[in-house]
């Protein structure tokens, strides 16, 4: 049985949070789909609200405090990521962006990601496409085609069999497909690993810019 890890990043600020609710539904649907296909799944939920101060401290000092470092390692070492944010002023909220800002720019390359968002009206839904998806494109992650937006009316429709439910299942299936195509993740990259030796460095290497 293949062991898979899913990291769930929720940037909801209120408690309880509809963003967290959507994140949990996406996570459960993805987990169920992976289990159905024969994997065992470990979930790591990172509720960014708990790390808000740590994220700012990371920005100011250049390193994550221990608790945030553990959360970052859970995300950068996962087989797949579910990232959900409330939409503020036509984009992800600042906490969501700040968390991804403090990650190493290479740490999510080729990582399957399912994105989701919540907002006060369905008119915010394309923020997923013009803000959240491009951010992950920059990080060179693989964002699945379905992005799941939940507006107030989606919750009103109920979650058992409404249109939101169908989108959640479709997104979860796409994420499971992408995860299954890859070998199990080997955990977060080691920033202190030596990837060259001295004589190679002394030779300059092909990428060294000449000033």
């Amino acid at each position: 049985m293949t062991h898979r890890t899913l990291a769930v990043v929720s940037a909801g600020l209120s408690q309880p949070s509809s963003t967290r609710l959507l994140a949990d539904q996406l996570a459960a649907a993805t987990r169920d789909e992976l289990v159905r296909r024969g994997s065992e799944v470990e979930l790591h939920v990172v509720d960014l609200r708990e790390y808000a101060h740590d994220v700012v401290n990371n920005m100011l000092t250049g390193f994550p405090p221990t608790a945030l470092r553990e959360a970052i390692d859970a995300v950068t070492g996962a087989d797949g990521i579910i990232a959900v944010t409330p939409i503020f002023s036509a984009s992800y909220n600042g906490l969501f962006k700040s968390f991804f800002d403090v990650l190493d720019a290479e740490s999510l390359v080729d990582r399957p990601v399912l994105i989701g968002a919540t907002g006060g009206t369905a008119r915010h839904s394309l923020a997923l496409e013009h803000a959240v998806r491009p951010m992950f494109a920059y990080l060179r992650s693989v964002v699945v085609p379905t992005a799941v937006f939940a507006a107030p009316e989606d919750w009103a429709d109920g979650t058992a069999d409404g249109a939101l439910r169908a989108r959640i299942l479709r997104g979860a299936g796409e994420l499971a497909d992408q995860i299954e195509r890859r070998p199990p993740a080997s955990g977060p990259a080691d920033p202190f690993a030596l990837t060259t030796d001295f004589l190679q460095m002394l030779g300059g290497g092909p990428d060294a810019p000449v000033s």
Binding site: L60, T61, T66, L194, V210, S211
Partner: protein, 379 residues
């Protein structure tokens, strides 16, 4: 083991009085700190090199030369010498001169500098930081060891039949440390040459230091300079002390809260937990410092940052009294008792001269324009 202080030379407002020292006051304060370091029995004074406000030490060998003339015993070093933006030829000349003037009381710590705009002021590009550090140091290393150098590289004009003068004192170049926070390439560089590695070990979690030192030791052995535990390791550290630890915390907090680098971020308590900063009694500083050995092994040099964030000179000098009178004597004794016999002390001029089989005059005399006789290549 060597103990000392290192300073970045920042001009910072004292947050408790709102007063900012002048550059002149700060420069004189750095000298006073160095003299005090010798007076209280410390071994090393190391000054930073910076080329932008709010820092004053742009001309390290001028300052260190002045201090050399006013001290007898103190070892003068840098924290760090910018191996990226300085011309390695000028480093070779300046520090060989300082070595002669101080009768061998000098070593250097190489660093890259991490301030983007500084690079172009010296015609360099921060994106080439690591390759510059590698190429420039390799040239510097040769300039101190070969009387006549022919050289061509990527980052400076070629050299033909170049002799860097003065030649190193007694034919022995100054010992070099390579400083880094988290670049494994620099640990590799230090290991390759068998030079020292200095982990900054302030403002950052101890895990960075632990991993970098571990890598350096492993590669030091790989390159055949000795066993991993014989590699030459230095650490930074940051402390503020009062006899009563509550007084230390109360007095240091406004400086911490408003400090450059980490101020307005984590609390003093968080930062003390997450980094090697110790604010408390001399005994707490002793205990914490002895603990460093548990994650880096037996090491050779411990430098403390005592004078940043706007702390007034009077306070810094009081700190140095506590460090020299109460902390370092205990640390010296404890570290020495723990250190196995096969682990060396940090190299000094005397020890390197002895290892080279004694002092030899290394003067290179000018080409004789009658006979055309050129200096010999002594490689």
């Amino acid at each position: 083991m060597q103990f000392g202080v290192f300073t970045v030379g920042d001009v910072t407002v004292d947050p408790t009085t709102g007063r900012e020292p002048t550059e002149h006051e700060r420069i004189k304060a750095m000298v006073a700190i160095a003299l005090k370091a010798e007076e209280v029995g410390l071994d090393v004074f190391a000054a930073g090199e910076h080329h932008n406000p709010p820092f004053v030490p742009s001309s390290p060998t001028t300052m260190l030369g002045h201090i050399a003339a006013r001290t007898e015993r103190l070892l003068l070093s840098t924290a760090t010498t910018l191996i990226t933006t300085n011309d390695p030829v000028k480093i070779a000349e300046d520090y060989a001169m300082l070595q002669h003037l101080s009768d061998g009381r000098v070593d250097l710590m190489m660093g890259r500098g991490n301030t983007g705009p500084v690079y172009p002021w010296f015609g360099k590009d921060i994106r080439a930081g690591i390759p510059l550090a590698i190429e420039n140091y390799d040239l510097l290393h040769r300039l101190w060891r070969e009387d006549v150098v022919d050289w061509k590289g990527k980052y400076r004009t070629p050299l033909q039949s170049f002799t860097s003068t003065p030649r190193p004192l007694d034919g022995v170049p100054p010992f070099v440390w390579h400083g880094s926070i988290r670049s494994p390439e620099i640990a590799e560089q230090a290991a390759y040459y068998g030079d020292g590695f200095f982990a900054n070990h302030i403002f950052w979690p101890k895990e960075h230091t632990q991993r970098m030192v571990e890598l350096y030791r492993q590669r030091y052995a790989h390159y055949g300079h000795g066993t991993a535990d014989q590699a030459i390791v230095g650490l930074g550290g940051q402390v503020f002390m009062r006899r009563n630890s509550q007084d230390a915390v109360r007095e240091f907090r406004p400086y911490f809260d408003n400090a450059p680098v980490y101020g307005h971020g984590p609390s003093l308590e968080e930062f003390t937990r997450e980094t090697p900063l110790t604010v408390g009694s001399p005994q707490q500083v002793i205990d914490r410092t002895l603990g460093f050995r548990e994650y880096v092994g037996d090491y050779q040099r411990q430098l403390f940052l005592m004078d940043h964030a706007g702390l007034p000179l009077k306070t810094v000098l009081e700190q140095l009294d506590l460090l020299g009178e109460e902390v370092v004597p205990v640390l010296r004794k404890e570290f020495a008792a723990l250190r196995p016999a096969h682990v060396p002390e940090a190299p000094t001029h005397a020890s390197m001269v002895a290892a080279a089989g004694g002092a030899k005059d290394s003067t290179v005399h000018a080409v004789d324009d009658v006979t055309g006789k050129a200096p010999e290549v002594t490689r």
